[in-house]
């Protein structure tokens, strides 16, 4: 199946191209900049075409993934030319306008499906990610619709089907209101000249996580943020409603009207869903961050494993120093300084597994004489329970001239990471009365 991503050189389009390529599809990307397009196509192992219409007219599926502001124009350009029997999709953050454009410009015999993947290009798989589809009733009966559903469900995505209008209204809150007020908070802090680093010293863990979430939103792509604010037609009324609400509350504070302020705050709280659950989940998020810090504090001077959360590189060494922001690991006299916010602490089991995968293993053979009634495979299993032993198996069992009557010689081959484990192995065998040969 051939799939074209219009605007597949950057951002989410690039992510989709790479993802579909990894799933075995024949992928074509387009993009205005030819040099960039050819460069990206080489990297991803996909085809690049500069001409949107040419690409769309030869594909089974065409996905429009361009900035919101030009989505409608691109749909108008491409839709009339998509191949008969094929599928046209978009992946824009607003749904009303693109849906209308697709309805108007898609020819008879072509299916279209407006889509909003609720994630950015930082994710690694579709597992657990929300994908909103806003098909018209007719589209739901089409040939392509069940195929798309099946594909998304096989990838374990959470598919949500709704109308374009309901999508845009919800998004005016989910993205529109929260983004806009968080940006306003950050810009206010800047305007007041408050030193955020200093304010964090005053901060409870709750405030700290709150500030991290604000920073996270404000650090997003500002062009995308702007495009969402300007292309969702419900956001205007959301801005108005927020302004009105803010002024009402501000007046209550200015007028020292405790009763009304308390009433408004309680009522707003009640309107949110299950507060107890929200408290529980955020408590867990905060305590996860604290627990990790505590674990590290308890590990100074000991061996730890730290995995970088983005690159997934693991660093193992003795934790020499720990500051609120950094950890210093030492291994073979090399020091590595790691930013705590970007690393996760490995559990003991993860650390052992990492070592197994990354440290060279040494293989040894040992033979010991036991009473003839012994069971060699239980002996091997017991050795494997030693924490430093990776693998152990019986390679030979011998009764005969060289062994006393009523006895049996058992040979076991085992591998260890740390050669010192040989003493542990031999001690265990001798402990049960085995005689090492």
């Amino acid at each position: 199946m051939k799939i074209t991503i219009i605007g597949g050189t950057r951002g989410l389009g690039n992510w989709i191209a790479r993802f579909l390529k990894s799933k075995g599809f024949d992928v074509v990307i387009t993009g205005r900049n030819k040099a960039e397009g050819e460069n990206v196509s080489r990297k991803l192992g996909v085809t690049y075409l500069q001409d949107n219409v040419e690409a769309a007219s030869h594909s089974d599926v065409t996905i429009v993934s361009v900035p919101i502001g030009v989505t409608t124009r691109i749909i108008k350009e491409v839709a009339p030319h998509v191949k008969e029997g094929s599928l046209l999709m978009d992946v824009t953050s607003v749904k009303e306008e693109p849906s209308e454009a697709m309805r108007e410009f898609t020819p008879e015999g072509v299916d279209y499906l407006p889509t909003h993947p609720m994630f950015g290009p930082r994710i690694r798989s579709l597992d657990g990610q929300v994908v909103v589809l806003t098909p018209e009733e007719e589209v739901k009966k089409s040939r392509w619709y069940p195929k798309v559903l099946e594909f998304l469900e096989a990838e374990n995505a959470r598919v949500l089907v709704t109308s374009p209008g309901n999508h845009d209204r919800m998004m005016s809150i989910v993205q529109g209101l929260t983004h806009f007020s968080y940006i306003s908070i950050a810009a206010t802090i800047e305007k007041l000249g408050i030193d955020i680093k200093e304010s964090r010293k005053f901060a409870s863990p709750v405030y700290s996580l709150m500030l991290d979430m604000i920073a996270r939103i404000v650090a997003q792509n500002p062009y995308l943020c702007y495009a969402i604010q300007t292309n969702n037609r419900y956001i205007g009324q959301t801005h108005e409603a927020f302004l009105e609400t803010f002024l009402e509350l501000k007046d209550m504070v200015a007028a020292r009207d405790e009763r009304d302020f308390v009433g408004a705050m309680s009522s707003a709280a009640k309107h949110l869903d299950d507060l107890e659950a929200a408290l529980g989940r955020s408590d867990k998020a905060i305590s996860a961050l604290n627990q990790e810090v505590q674990l590290l504090k308890d590990s100074v001077g000991k061996e730890v494993g730290l995995r970088h959360i983005y690159s997934e590189t693991t660093h193992v060494g003795r934790l020499k120093e720990l500051s609120p922001d950094f950890a210093v690991l030492v291994r073979d006299e090399n020091e590595t300084r790691l930013k705590l916010s970007n690393v996760e602490v490995l559990s003991q089991a993860e650390l052992v597994n990492w070592k197994l995968d990354n440290y060279p293993q040494k293989v040894y053979d040992v033979s010991a004489v036991f009473p003839e009634s012994c069971n060699p495979s239980i002996i091997a299993e017991t050795l494997m329970n030693l924490s430093n032993v990776v693998e152990a198996s019986v390679v030979d069992v011998y009764t005969g001239k060289q062994v006393e009557t009523g006895k049996k010689s058992v040979s076991i081959r085992y591998s260890v990471i740390n050669p010192d484990a040989r003493f542990e192995v031999e001690n265990l065998l001798k402990g049960f009365g085995g005689v090492i040969r």
Copy 2:
């Protein structure tokens, strides 16, 4: 040392009374409502007095813990009467006004220390909690100041020393601005009649945690929130600055002024501190929540332990059902339905430890004959490595008439939770050629 908590019957005052009592201090609480005061004093095992002045005049330390709005009045009432050589403190969320009142009304020979504990009565210890002190230079040289510091540091609190003005200015952001804008967001959602539960279906994990943090703030005590908004003299200008900023951004969106909007957003982001760290920490918080859900999904049909995050009660059973909000555990045909947001999943090690503490253990003796060269304590240690064996020790070693020459009988006492583990123990002994007697 006798410590009086003025307003020790409720909220943070109640928490301080309980905490100091547990540290061995002689604690007195006061409160306007006599019946409530006597009831609380019985529960906490502390003394109740209705008269603030009487309590303060006989104590070594007096801590004013009353609503912000009445703090200054209570300081004026109590300060002139505190015992010579004693210490007066307050624990209010604003610091300028109480500091001025203490400076004015505390008599010669009495130390005073304005304090703001940055936590609520939900915490269990001072470990890692921020406590802000705003002492004047003279107070820093006083007899009491180093004692308070020493006490807080011994409890592992994070002490921050600053001026009352700087404290209030920081708090106008840390609490004032964030609380106020979060309440405005929630009230706007209510005003627009948006169904929050439905909006969560559209939500990425980021939005979900963001909403939880908003709910967490809005679900706070509205009277305390109101008091902070009205008693911090910097908050007025914060409201004005926010309003101005919001209107500027709103106008940029209305005027379709992309350049200015993008500029303002980027500049605000730059003004926040280390964005990469904020991203890393919030990614970790989100992934901690996701990992737990994944762990539970993988455990359906298996035995799990779930600990309630507030009551710390642990429930162990077979995970029969899992919905997005609930888990159903079955044990001995009893079903327990638990809200996921309020429970943590125990690790395998925690589950084993919990069972050791909570399930009855059975003790068994076993004797086996081994070659005389064996080492009985290594045999006992090896048995203890079996996952179902809790404890194992050598109780007897015998060589003599009843045992073949060159052999030794080793008796071991071991305890297990699951009686089936007896077979494992005997199999291991036999596996090494031991003969069970």
